[in-house]
């Protein structure tokens, strides 16, 4: 919205010069503000996407297919994309695993979303959003991916929507020549996302599928893996699901000294007992708010009307990182206290950090 946009250093191209000239005619707006009205997905625009299809997968999950803007640089199976969606008029950013095969001929990408209880964005995407809606995008991110040469023996341990990054890998050919086992938990057979496709893969012998229906069989205990997949510790393992599952597998793999064979993707932070809280000052916004020790600074800032950068809101994407000029924050996941004095250049993730005393945030 302002004419003082930072420009990359270096020589100006003809296009840059033309845009500069156009800026003198559009100031205080930028030429892009007008172009965005007609071509929001054009090359050079802020990355956005247009939803082209929403297809139900189960009673509470849906696959959302998106045409990304021309600036989309593609993804690696297993990665996620940050999505900015306007829900009730408010822009909300969340991260979702990509479930489409990279480089589809039609250029579309898809994410698969499971509506969680009281989940603002997930319920909106599964139940309300209509094709044609424009959403904000970031480039794909994340290191929950397979190496270039797929390992010979692979184990996937997933639960609920944790199967989505794995589906991305399977569709992209992770099964290849490899010996692949997928142990997946869902409340009932009907709750298994991609059930037909997974069972199809299993039927063709491409993977061995172990379905665990927790409503009838109870939650999977990590000790049971020894029976289900006797060689599980020898396999390269990718695990994605709720905190309890991931904590258990991490402890199990570590106890056997093979933590290097385990790759995990966490969907929710582990919340520990709240700390003391304090007065939080957002220096540049000139806003001061009282924060308790159990509320993420991101929520504190948003409540106070500060334009907070945000992303996954679960501590994985670093889209919300801002400088903590001075003060102390406690990581809501593990209780670690981070302190900063001016000049330290300490950056904190506001979505998983709570005030542990007076905080001065450079925002």
């Amino acid at each position: 919205m302002t004419t003082t946009v930072p420009r990359p250093p270096g020589k100006l191209t003809v296009r840059d010069r033309l845009f500069r000239l156009a800026e003198t005619a559009t100031t205080p707006l930028l030429p892009e503000d007008y172009l965005d009205m007609v071509a929001p997905l054009r090359s050079g625009a802020a990355l956005r996407g247009r939803i082209v299809d929403v297809r139900p997968e189960t009673r509470d999950a849906a696959t959302v297919t998106i045409r990304p803007g021309r600036g989309w640089r593609g993804h690696t199976p297993g990665q996620y994309v940050r999505l900015g969606v306007d829900v009730d008029g408010v822009r909300q950013w969340r991260a979702y695993s990509l479930t489409s095969v990279p480089g589809r001929p039609d250029g579309l990408i898809s994410i698969t979303v499971k509506a969680i209880p009281d989940g603002k964005v997930s319920n909106h995407l599964v139940r309300r959003v209509r094709p044609g809606t424009i959403v904000q995008l970031d480039q794909a991110q994340g290191d929950f991916v397979q190496p270039a040469t797929a390992p010979e023996r692979v184990l996937f341990v997933t639960a609920g929507s944790g199967v989505t990054p794995v589906m991305g890998m399977l569709r992209a050919g992770a099964t290849g020549p490899a010996d692949v086992v997928l142990v997946h938990s869902a409340p009932t057979p009907a709750d298994v996302v991609f059930a037909d496709e997974l069972r199809g893969l299993a039927g063709r012998g491409a993977i061995r599928l172990v379905e665990r229906h927790t409503d009838t069989d109870g939650v999977l205990g990590v000790a049971e893996l020894a029976d289900l997949v006797p060689d599980h510790l020898d396999r390269q393992t990718w695990a994605c699901g709720p905190v309890g599952l991931l904590d258990a597998v991490e402890a199990h793999w570590a106890a056997h000294g093979v933590a290097d064979r385990l790759h995990t993707e966490r969907f929710r932070p582990t919340v520990i007992s709240p700390g003391a809280g304090g007065t939080v000052t957002f220096t540049r916004a000139g806003v001061t708010a009282e924060a308790d020790g159990g509320t993420a600074l991101l929520d504190v800032g948003e409540e106070a009307g500060v334009l907070m950068p945000s992303g996954c809101r679960m501590g994985i994407c670093f889209g919300c990182v801002v400088p903590l000029r001075e003060g102390a924050v406690r990581d809501l996941r593990n209780g670690d206290v981070t302190t900063a004095v001016p000049g330290d250049g300490v950056l904190i993730q506001t979505c998983v950090s709570a005030a542990a005393g007076t905080c001065d945030i450079d925002l």
Binding site: M1, T2, T3, T24, A25, T26, T27, P28, L29, D33, Y34, M37, D86, D88, G89, V90, R91, Q92, A285, E302, G305, L307, M308
Partner: protein, 382 residues
């Protein structure tokens, strides 16, 4: 209008301190309800206004490429004037108030918005949002009372300079955006106090200079050049559009705090002011303009100046909705809701500017100290 306590009739003498706090709570409840119900339709509203404004501006400027033809000149000038008014009033003023920050859209946010105006958004936000809205109508604190060049209240001291204030006001109206830029810079005061060399002032003055250059280049060089043979007529068209925008916004803004019936306050009266008393000051210190839906949009809903001053950060499209409830509270607490059609309010404000260019006819006798109502402590403290 005069400082309340000197009036023969004190408009709040009948209110107890408890009344004022209850009134505050009732207003808080209105505000909370609107905030809880902000949503998709509000977001759609502002996006639609912004998009309409941009299309209108683009279309008008395109028509003005052929401004040599008188019909094109007329249509283009009218369209551009309306676009500029919308941009300043319903969009710029309100976005810069943070009315739309809740959408968390970085493109429509008070921290990133810049407007079609020679005063940089940053400086305007300080003088308007922080000073004027906090110290509304407090003599000596709120520079909006006469913008430092006029006397608009009996209690402002008369100076021979004020003899010319009808003329100053007219010149200010024609070049209002420059007047506001000078006002946001506190140009007069800074020059008087010899602060024009202070680095802080110079940095701000440079920012204004840059903004003026950009605005001038766009309106008076780039677009006329693009018009080729229509250079001069486009230049005249843009000048006219800016003039219309300035006269219009000046008129609307005069109607907000200058008409008869609006109260002013003493500097000491706001010491230790409670939330309820702050609300009460906003209620008595502002005036509305009656009119059609179009009228409200063209004033940026500042026709609901009272509601805007009570709730400066509520989305502007909601002022009309809460106005009946606010008005009912005025009635309930026996206060005067000042409202009138635009011509009447403009005339009233102008008459005051003319009348107060001369010294007061007689100084009102100060009230005896023991006569002041003890129940409204902050507002009547002498």
């Amino acid at each position: 209008m005069t400082v309340m306590q000197k009036k023969a009739h004190n408009p709040i003498a009948h209110l107890t301190a408890e009344d004022i706090e209850t009134l505050g709570k009732e207003l808080d409840a209105i505000r909370d309800r609107v905030i809880a119900s902000r949503g998709e339709s509000d977001a759609a509203y502002i996006r639609k206004v912004i998009s309409t404004q941009r299309r209108l501006e683009l279309g008008s400027r395109a028509v003005l490429l052929f401004s040599l033809f008188p019909p094109a000149w007329l249509v283009g000038t009218a369209g551009l004037a309306v676009a500029k008014i919308l941009e300043n009033m319903e969009v710029g003023h309100n976005v810069l108030h943070g009315q739309w920050d809740w959408m968390r859209d970085p493109k429509i946010h008070s921290t990133t918005w810049e407007w079609d105006h020679v005063s940089p958004a940053e400086q305007w936000k300080h003088s308007h949002n922080e000073l004027h809205h906090t110290y509304t109508n407090v003599i000596g604190k709120d520079n909006d009372l006469g913008y430092g060049i006029m006397r608009v209240d009996e209690d402002q001291r008369w100076h021979p300079f004020h003899l010319g204030q009808p003329l100053w006001n007219f010149i200010n109206a024609c070049f209002f955006e420059y007047g506001i830029a000078a006002y946001d810079l506190e140009l007069g005061r800074n020059l008087r106090k010899g602060r024009h060399k202070a680095p802080e002032f110079r940095a701000r003055a440079r920012a204004v200079g840059r903004k003026i250059r950009r605005q001038f280049l766009k309106d008076y060089i780039v677009h006329p050049l693009l018009s080729g043979p229509s250079f001069l007529s486009t230049l005249a068209a843009t000048f006219t559009a800016n003039l219309i925008r300035n006269l219009w916004s000046h008129s609307v803004i005069m109607c907000g705090h200058f008409p008869e019936g609006v109260e002013t306050f003493e500097r000491r009266s706001i010491q230790g002011e409670t939330r309820g008393e702050w609300y009460l000051r906003q209620m008595l210190g502002s005036a509305n303009i009656s009119g059609s839906k179009l009228m409200h949009i063209m004033t940026g809903n500042l026709s609901f100046q009272i509601e805007h001053h009570l709730f400066p950060d509520l989305p502007s499209n909601r002022y009309q909705e809460v106005a009946p409830e606010v008005r009912a509270l005025f009635a309930k607490y026996g206060l005067t809701y000042t409202v009138g059609p635009l011509p009447k309010q403009v005339a009233s404000a102008w008459w005051k500017v003319i009348r107060l260019s001369l010294p007061n006819r007689s100084t009102p006798a100060p009230r005896p100290a023991d006569d002041r109502p003890a129940t409204t402590p902050a507002l009547v403290e002498v």
